[in-house]
């Protein structure tokens, strides 16, 4: 009689297997995994969960990365072996394909909008801060865009380095300072000296004489145009006054 009940009570003492709680938390998207990946930019620590990549950093050590993650993201973090499929996606993403999903939970809606817009800037091109502000519907929030990009938790992958100042000064860069920003842009094929020469003369847009369209100087539509066929403008009014319309791809102004 009592023995069946005693046995049943012992059944209730069974313990969940080792690592069960961690698996559940990972499945719920609460804990993130991380690993060190070799990339074209050198070794980068990358954290991710079910929703996507949540953080990336070139840190001196795993400990530094964990501390930074806990201060800035705050979820639990577990180190794992780098999965091969993710390594391939990371390489593709840095080569200009868009294969990664990102987990931007925890950021403000404004920061999320800034980062999602930044993600649309193609490799080899750059945009001013004011462009991001205008595109997300907050044209006056240029400084706030700068702040949001400075706190980008996933530099390199969300290309905050492709957002630059209109005066041609390469601003500070959370992913490793101005020098790192320059070297990444150069790696991506941006002609920085040309860009800076134009910016210093106050010329922000380039127009193509044959099409009467004006673009940002790094826009891909200008890639085959002979230098003699470019005309440069200081601002939108000047370009429109000369009979040019804004490019529909790089959108230097509202069409």
């Amino acid at each position: 009689m009592a023995t069946v009940m005693t046995d049943l009570r012992r059944l209730g003492d069974v313990k969940a297997p080792e690592g069960f709680a961690e698996r559940v938390l990972a499945e719920a998207g609460i804990t993130d995994s991380y690993a060190l990946f070799g990339t074209v930019l050198g070794p980068v620590y990358v954290a991710w969960n079910r929703r996507g990549v949540s953080a990336a950093m070139r840190a001196p050590s795993a400990q530094d990365f964990e501390t930074w993650f806990s201060d800035n993201v705050g979820r639990l973090l577990v180190r794992v072996d780098p999965p091969a499929d993710l390594a391939a996606k990371i390489a593709d993403q840095l080569a200009g394909k868009r294969r990664l999903r990102f987990d931007l939970r925890g950021l403000t809606p404004f920061s999320q909008a800034v980062l999602e817009k930044t993600l649309q800037i193609p490799r080899g091109q750059v945009r001013p801060y004011g462009w991001v502000a205008r595109e997300i519907g907050h044209p006056a929030a240029v400084r706030a865009v700068g702040t949001a990009l400075a706190h980008n938790p996933i530099p390199y992958f969300i290309p905050c380095h492709r957002v630059i100042r209109t005066d041609g000064v390469i601003g500070n860069y959370g992913g490793g300072g101005p020098e790192a920003k320059k070297s990444i842009l150069t790696l991506e094929g941006v002609e920085l000296p040309r860009l800076q020469r134009l910016a210093q003369s106050g010329l922000r847009y380039e127009g193509v004489k044959s099409t009467k369209i004006f673009c940002f100087p790094t826009c891909y539509h200008g890639r085959h145009v002979k230098p003699a066929n470019f005309v440069y403008f200081h601002d939108e009014d000047e370009a429109r006054g000369a009979g040019y319309r804004p490019c529909k791809d790089c959108r230097p102004a509202v069409a």
Partner: protein
Amino acid sequence: MDGTDRVFERLVRDHQDRIYALGFALTGNRHDAEDVAQDTFIRAYKALVTYSPDRIRDLKQKAWLHRIAVNVVRNRVRGVRPRLVELNGSEPDLATGPEEDVLRKAEIDELAARVACLPTKYREAVVLRHVQDLSYAEVAETLGQPVGTVKANVHRGLKILRGENHGDRDD
């Protein structure tokens, strides 16, 4: 980490053994037990993120998780009786913790398999009352049945487990 995630982490760590044991007793094997326990917590998390802070604070976590787990098991096995586990070798999972020796583990596995073969209504009642050690009132609330029904089902379930009264399996 936001507040709900913290609550959830605490919830998982506090109740993982209990819910795993419940899944084990209801399904009869450790593999399904882990599936059930994991599904239970994931469903709990999905519900939790939609709850207001007040509702989360007032939640009776234990009863709530039991109710979810019972439903998870019902949905998994709807219409299907759990299969009898062969005792000689078909469950090769004999990895044991240092304190739980192989023999004891085999005994417990066998008991779980026997419990899992009870008809659903007896099994749920017996497991909640005697494995999970809930009161009759708590079992009744979890299952949404009157206390009298629960008592009768526990009684009949225990009878079957003791090998008495074979004629009573008339569901």
